[in-house]
Every structure is written in structure tokens, then in C-alpha cells.
Amino acid sequence: MSKNLSINGKSYTIDVQDDMPLLWAIRDIVGLTGTKFGCGVSQCGACSVLIDGTLTKSCSMPVSYAFGKEIFTIEGSSPNLEFLREAWNEGNVPQCGYCQSGQLIAATSLLDATENPTDKDIDAAMSSNICRCGTYTRIKKAIHKAVALKNESI
């Protein structure tokens, strides 16, 4: 039966099994591939999205949970995500880039909730996201930088 999935403010009518993980509905059915598969078991954060603003590992959440809710992915845009993108650019953060969709979404969620995160806040918020290339130092720096950019802009 067809259902509506709202992603980044756009509505998609899809026909899927209720128990398909949201990740695969987004990637294979809707066709937005910015959200990544890394482990499938809530361990790596590559599949991070926001559902009604809440950070969620889409590999471990059935698509049915997201019906009627608003999903935010790396293809989207929000003020905090844009500050983070700018900071990511300035810090030349990514290596292979594969984990960075999830990192940016997790960082967006952090900035949405915390105005001036400390190193400890960042550690706590970002430790569910694995970067096999090891860009943690740069991610941490870039999150601080994004906060600075945001504060400058006000």
C-alpha cells in the first residue's frame, strides 16, 4: 500500500514493507543516496538522519515509524548544517568522505540542542559515528568552528 514519506520538506509516495529499515527506503525506494550504509546494526552512524528533529540511525528504524513525520537528510539544508558545511570546508575535514553525511547530521543534531558544545559534549554526541579514515580531530575542530561562524553571524 502506498504511503507518504516526507524528506527535507518534500513528499514521496512509496510502496514498501512496513518493516523495511528507513535507510533502505530512503536509498533504494526514494533514491536519495547521501545517507549511507555502514553496519546495519546501529554501530557506525553512517545512516544518521533526523526524524522530527531527533537523531536516528535509519538502518535500525522501520520505515513505518517515519510515516507522517519529517525526515531530514544530508541532502537537506538548515542553518546549523550550513555553518557546519562551511566549517567542514575550512577545516578540509573529509578523507574518503563516506562517513561524513552521518557525521554532519549528528553534528547538526548536536548544534540544534547545544549552543556552545564543549569537547566533552562533542565526544558524547559524536562517538556513535565511526570514521575509519580517522578524521576525528578535524571534526571536533570544525564543530567548534561552526559555532564560532554562527556566533559571528548574529
Binding site: G40, C44, N92, P94, C96, I122, G134, Y136, T137, K140
Partner: protein, 737 residues
Amino acid sequence: MSKIQQINRRDFVKLFGLATGGIILGCNISSDSKDFIPQIEGTFAPNLFVQIQKDGNIILMASRSEMGQGIRTSLASAIADELEADWKFITVQQATGNAKYGNQNTDGSRSVRTLLAPMRKMGATAKAMLITAASKKWKVSEADCFAENHFVINKNTSEKIFFGDLVEEAAKLTIPDDATIQLKKVEDFKYIGKTLKSVDLKAFTHGTATYGIDVRIPNMKFAAIARCPVTFGSVKSFNANAAEKTPGVEKVFQLDRLVPPTGSFFGALGGVAVIANNTWAAFQGKESLEIEWNYGENHSFDSEKFKQTLTNRIKEKGKLVPGSTGKVDDAFEEAAKTVEAIYHVPFLVHAPMEVPNATAWFQKNKIEVWAPVQDPQTARAELAHFFEIPLENITVNVTFLGGGFGRKSKSDFVVEAVALSKKIKAPVQVVWTREDDIQHSFYHATSAQYLKGSLDTNGQVTGWLQRVAFPSIVSSFKPLSEYASGFELNQGFTNNPYNISNFSLENAKAEANLRIGWMRSVVHIHSGFGNNSFVDELAFAAKKDAVQFHLDLIGADRVIEGRSEFPYDSKRMKAVLKNTAKVSNWGKTIPENHGLGVAIHYSFYSYVATIVEVSVINEKVKVENVWTTIDCGLALNKDNIKNQLEGAAIFGMSLALYGKISVKEGAVEQHNYYDYEMTRMKDAPKIHVDIIEAMHERPTGVGEPGVPVMAPAICNAIFNATGKRIRSLPLVDFGLV
């Protein structure tokens, strides 16, 4: 030196897939087939291309795969610099797998090492032609013109012409003789040796970079394969009833193993394939298969027992390796003190964030593939072999790689995708689950080492005996290869950076019961761990400062020419160590429960010294600080090199703390990131990277050399903090993390 040559337009159109006007330059690049990875194609007639368009845009073909090492940016910057191009006009296009591009095998930390000179020359040649074109327009001599920031400028009149406006004229010129091409002086570099941001940043931060797993072809299917838990086991029988009932599943069938011919290729493991209309359905279908396996001869393999077997073997005399010198026995006899130790490294797996995957479309006598491969030419040749399709009818499109680390040089997953597409007569993407990746990889070998050293009364090292055993990579190409090959031992064992007059290296037998492959820094992981741990033990026995002890052991200034074009220079080795000691304040007082450890290593022709500071509180280790200095010759893109070294520190730390693949009854026991763990943000240390100014030296490796120092530096730091010596990785086995 490589020779610039004109490219025939048909080749160009075929390779670029577009036909806009402009200058096209190709360039012969000598193959570096002497390198240690088996080469599939014997001779090369390689070409690389740069295209300047009328609108001023410059397209560069990147011949090496991008897997996070920043190669697309690095290669582009070299051309742009010599060309005096404005960076904002540069676009990078990814080359398909084709011998015309020269060796495309992206490993061995060699892309910049082998391609910098030809890339620069290509840029300089294009610049010379633009200058000639401008001089003709102005009817002045070429000497009266120079290029700057995408313009040619008339020295006398200060008139300028935009590069794009010179293209038509320049395209008519013959390519100037190599001998007339002048390269820039180091002092005049604009991009080389500076910092350039990745050309792919925008794609990476918007989720728009296409990795293999993101490839979408109209009407494509998705596939998962259940492979035998035991290496090279086969399907006895299977029941697909439940799988076939899984919504979305379309077909289930057996896929036979494709056995590679001796000496080359990787083949494919085979198993039971599930074809579905989405990835999740394929995974679900695979989960619900009931399969009976013929486990075959690897069923009895047990990695714990194997560790014991290797340990027993290295306690006995092994095969003497050429390069051993002096009389070790006499040195031990006359010693004031001898020290012995045994070290172990377990099997390891790459686990790149993007799992192995490939998309293939097999059509009558034609194959097209889209895949995250480090070595597209081998993949292509392998497909030609297994599917009997002429090479020219096979296209291997190289996508972005979500990490490679050596895993994606093996094209087994590409072979699988093509076999499936052939069978179902439709395009198909095969996706490995993370469990598949952890359990069916080409593993970094396990190793055991025995070391014995002697000290004289002054605490100087007089003798060094090292016995090593590890399954050889060659076993993946030639079954029953049970001893290490020369290229493996030449990774830090036969060519350690020390000057020891009585040196003996022995190799003991080690069978392979898993597929063995190379992983970031390869055998240097073993040699780096054994050498540096043992030097630390010797320094302690000699009651000497570890840094000073290393410096003494490296010895007087000397240059060893060897067979390579990059001689080992002990002065550079000492310089990186001295720098790291200085920036880390080696010798300073550190907090209680903290410890410092040092390690040095020479790999991929680069010199690295690392000092690690750990804290050990309640028996738990935290890596607090890492100071690394690298001398990689000419540093092409400084910030990228820093990023690589930071990443290598984390990669090396992951393997030291957690890395372990264990095998019971022939099957790998780990599954996913919960039992094959990685360093995470909360555990990440502060990393300080220094790059030695060596702009007049040729560039050497960057991607790998930062890895081998990490495990020994951490273990030496733990010893410094606690007096506890870890000789067997990983630390998690000792409850230390």
C-alpha cells in the same frame, strides 16, 4: 623521464566520452612494475590527459582511485602549478580502467611518488604552448611573454590574453620537444608544497559524491550472497523456500566459486545468491536461506592453535634470509647481556566504511562495471579472463571509494557482480553486509616473531637475531606458498633503519588458511611492532634513554643506495626522531600514571618518528597525545599530508587497541563493528603532525607510513607508565581498554 606525445583524437574521444575543442596532452609514464604488488599486464603504453577548453576550464583525468588520500587534488595541483592555472578552473574527472593511463593500481603509497614528475611536465608543456600561441598573436618572441594566473602576459606592453582565448591557436601547434620544457623552481611553486583543499569537498558535505554503493542504473537489481563460513568451502545443498517468499526477492541460485589461475587475479568465493528489487530484501532473503556446506580442508583451522604453531616454529632455527651479516652467535657469546622476546600480531581486516560492492551489466559480448576499485585494470583483465570477453569490450568505471585500505584492490566483488548479471541478464548491484566484509575478506596476516639481541658493557647493541613467521600474500596467487617472499621481508625486516654489525634474519614456515591480502602499510605492521618494541626492551636493559638509544642504533650518517631509486639516508631518519622528541618535550616530567613511548619506521621510502603519551588509570589505557614527524621528501599538499598522518594515527591505534580477527573451526568469529571495534571520537588523542621541509627531495609515500609506528609507540608508552610489557596485540585482550 617520461615523454610527452600527441594523442590521437579517436583515443581521446573514447576515453573522455566528450569532444569539446581544446588542447589535449598525453604523456608516457614508466610503469613501476618493480613494486611489490603482482602486476597483471606486462607492458604499458600509458597516457594521461589534460584538456584545456575554450572557456578556460581545465579537465584533468585522475588515473588513480580516490579513497580518502586526496589524490585527485594532489595530482591536479601539480599540473595547475606548472601551467600557471587559476585553481578555480580545474575540474577532475575519474579515468576508467585502461592501460593507456599507465599503472592505475592505487596502493603502495606510490601515486605521487611516481606521477608527480610527469604531471608537472604535462602542465609545463601546456603552458609553453599557450605562451607560443600568444607570442604569435602579438608577433613577439616567446621570451617576451610569461604566464600568470590563467593569462599569458606580454612583458613589454603588459597586455594579457586569457588561456581560453589561446586554445584554438595552441591546438594547431606541435608539441614542443621535451628538452625545451623548463620546470619551475621550488621557490616559485604556487600550489605544490602548499595547502589546497580537496576538490571534492562540496560533494562530500552534501552527500552527492557517488560511491560504488550509490550507483543506480535503470532496472537494476540488488543482490546479496551467502558465502561459506570456511574459506573455499562450497555449497552442498540449500533450501530457498523462505528466501523466495521474502517480499522483494526475485531469484535464488547457486553461484560456483571462480578459481583464479595460478599467479594472478582473485576470483570469487561463490555461494548462494539472492536477487531482489532492493538491498534490504536481498539481505533478508540471504538471512533466511538454509544451507548445508562442504567446509573443505580449512575447516580445522583455529587461529589460537596457529599462533602456538608459529610460536613453536620461531623458537627453532628458520631459513636464513639473504642480507644477514656478521656473526650473531659470536656476538651473543661475547655479550655483556642478552635480551629475548616474542611478539604477536593477530589477523586483521580493513573494514572500510563502504562495504565491498559492485554494479555490473553483462550484455552480449560486452561488460560495463561501476565499482569502488583501487585497481581497475586488474579488475578489467580479470573479467576478460573469467567471462571470455575481449578487453576492449569491458568498461570499468571507477567510483569514489568509501575507504579502501587495500581491501578494494581485490576485485572479487566485481567478479561476483558480473557473474550475477550474466546469469540474470540484467544490471545488478552486489552489496556485502558488514558481516560479509568482516568474515570473507583478504586478511592482513597474523605473525609471530622471536627476537634476541646482545649488548656490550657500554650498552651498545652488538647482535640482533630476528625470526619471523607469517602467512604470505603470495598464497593468494600461488597456493601452498608457505614462506614469506622477498618483497614482504623487504618491508622493515631486511631493511630496518638500524646499523647493526651482526644481524641475522630467519623466516619460518606459515601456511595460509584464509585468503591473505595487504592492508594499509602491510608487512610494516609486523616489522614496525617487532623492531620498535624490541629496541625499547634493549634500551631498558641497557638503562638508556629510548630516544638516544634509537639514535645510537641508527648510527652514523650513511646512505644506502640499494636497488631502489630512493636511497635510505640515516640522517633523515635521525632528523625526524629529533624533531618529534623536541616537539613532544621528550624528557619532560609527565603526570603520574602517564607514560611516553617512541617508535621510528622507514616505509614506502618515507621516514617517520612518533611519540605517544598514554595515561593508564584503573588498568585502562587512554592515548592522550600523538606527535608524529614525517619526511616524505617534497610535500605536495601539506594539509592533506597532515590529514593522512592524523588518520594513520587513528588507524594504527584501532589495530593496537582492538584489532583482532580470530578463527574457530575455519570460520571468522567476529561479525560487525561491535566485536571488531574501531577508535571513536571519545578515545581520539590529540594528534600533532610535523612535516620536514625537504622540497628538493623527490616525494615519497604518505598514506601508509604513519601506521606501523602506532602500536609499538603505544605499547612502549604503556611500559613506561606501568612497567607492563605488551608483546601481543591487541590491548583489549589484556583488559587494558
